[in-house]
Symmetry: C2
Subunit: 317 residues, 2 copies
């Protein structure tokens, strides 16, 4: 810090106001207490985002914070769990300024209201590397209702919420690998890359699914995880994969656009299998294929021919 | 990775064997389930270590892993909680090799046995920066028995487990800011820097304390946190602060050695206040001072004069 505030001062100023749960002790202790909820299991998940990998160092700090939180809320939602709190580990360069922290905390505050979660605790370290944010999120689910990856069965249908590929389109625009003359297309796609919309409200309805996952690595890659874990094969109809008007404006309507969308990642929609359509009033759900005997995942064109995609999703290593 | 393994392969090979709890789902899902324990609260904490700040990039991978886990177990122990599991977020350069991961996982495995914990889940990302490891640890404590920072009262005594400053001595040796001709001194002090010994077994006895903290920032800084939170003053007798024979061999016996030890940090001993001595059979505990009215913390010499220390502990920002 340029003004020689210690991390204790910074935590007290920017983060303690977010710690509204009594078990967080106002961030004035080393741990948090998490109370049990009768009839519910506790569900936990952790995800880290790193500048230069998962976001751009010059993204607005509020949107970096919201992305860090939301990718975790997405994991909980994809299992049918409802979030209530999170732990935050911040790794920041020494020269980070107070304006960054102020905006970062404001982003968390607005998401805390939107998703009914509060900060339970955390940790703040200096790093000689790029900023990184690691969050552990906590949720509850009625006992025995968790939706795993391994429950898909032959005869189930395959569904996905919302639209796929928007975030990948936003990333391509930010990296100048795509160009759009439409301000709205550019704005909407970049917004989806920077601030995903986790399907938190869909979690209760999702408990009727046989298997589910959130789409973070790419639709094909993530459905591939379900296929592997469940010991089944999936056949997806390319033309049914839901693309937004903004993504169609950017990539067009062809098979190439669909293949890009289905491998782009960072969508934070929920892909799931179920015997019959599962929905709630607030969430668009599209049937995109079916579960069959066998293994792996195939993307079929309108004539039933297999579409080859170069890689199925993002891998770190 | 030089051999093009994805993070999914690496997790399956090196980390899934550590996920022995049923709620971890063999690391084959996005979340972990944490079962409630009757009559107990769940206690959680998170701490991150970064190469170049908290460890050296060329430290043995097994000791990096053990340090990352142990600093978190230390936080739980210092509140009276007993650990049972942890989540691991790994941020590693793309070029990290399998030998690193193999040794890293072996370090975790040996500590899992030693401390009766298991891996519940995690996340692995590439980073353009230095390696960093973020761990969230989970423990249980009988309801209502947590030992906070804010319970110290006038008339309490101040205690610390083990010896103070060894880790700081090890760091000074590694940074060539100190020299020792004794192989044993060098080995023992560096070992304490690299692999702290969290006071996990002391947690049940500690529940008799009025306030407690683990010594990570430095003895004076951390007791200062208790003094602040409790609204009290502490008077410490410098000559009672326990130094190991190895640290005395390095720094000598003088006031300067004590001041260095009390501000060095990374000890992962437990400093606490209590009305009367609190101990168990396995843990050395030394009375080092008393709690009085007022605020702040003073280090007194044998004649009762105040010893001025240049800074009380490590700060990141």
């Amino acid at each position: 810090m340029t003004n020689s505030s210690s991390e204790f001062d910074l935590i007290a100023e920017f983060f303690a106001p977010l710690a509204t749960s009594p078990g967080a002790f106002g961030l004035k202790d080393d741990v948090a207490l998490v109370a049990a909820r009768a009839g519910h299991d506790l569900v936990v998940t952790t995800d880290t985002i790193v500048a230069g990998v998962d976001f751009f160092a010059n993204d607005p700090p509020a949107s970096i914070a919201r992305k860090a939180l939301r990718v975790n809320l997405s994991d909980l939602a994809a299992k049918g769990a409802e979030p209530f709190g999170y732990l935050l580990s911040l790794m920041l360069p020494k020269e980070i300024g107070r304006p960054f922290l102020k905006d970062f905390a404001a982003g968390l505050e607005s998401d805390q209201t939107e998703f009914a979660v509060s900060l339970l605790g955390g940790d703040m370290s200096s790093t000689p590397g790029p900023p990184a944010i690691s969050i552990t999120a906590f949720g509850h689910i009625p006992v025995g209702r968790i939706v795993r990856r391994n429950g898909a069965r032959e005869g189930d249908l395959v569904f996905v919420t919302g639209t796929i590929g928007d975030s990948g389109g936003g990333l391509a625009l930010l990296e100048n690998q795509a160009v759009s003359t439409s301000v709205e297309t550019r704005t909407r796609l970049i917004a989806r890359y920077r601030v995903p919309e986790p399907r938190v409200t869909f979690a209760p309805a999702l408990r009727a699914a046989s298997a589910a996952i959130d789409v973070s690595d790419g639709l094909l890659a993530d459905l591939g995880h379900i296929a592997d874990a469940s010991g089944v094969r999936m056949e997806l109809q390319a033309e049914r994969i839901p693309l937004s008007p903004f993504l169609r404006d950017l990539w067009g309507d062809g098979v190439d656009a669909i293949a890009r969308a289905a491998t782009a990642g960072d969508d934070y929609e929920i892909a799931f299998t179920a015997r019959s359509p599962t929905a709630d009033a607030r969430t668009a759900v599209t049937r995109i294929g079916k579960v069959t005997k066998g293994s792996g995942i195939v993307l079929l064109d309108a004539e039933g021919g297999e579409i080859t995609v170069p890689r199925k999703g993002f891998v770190h290593f």
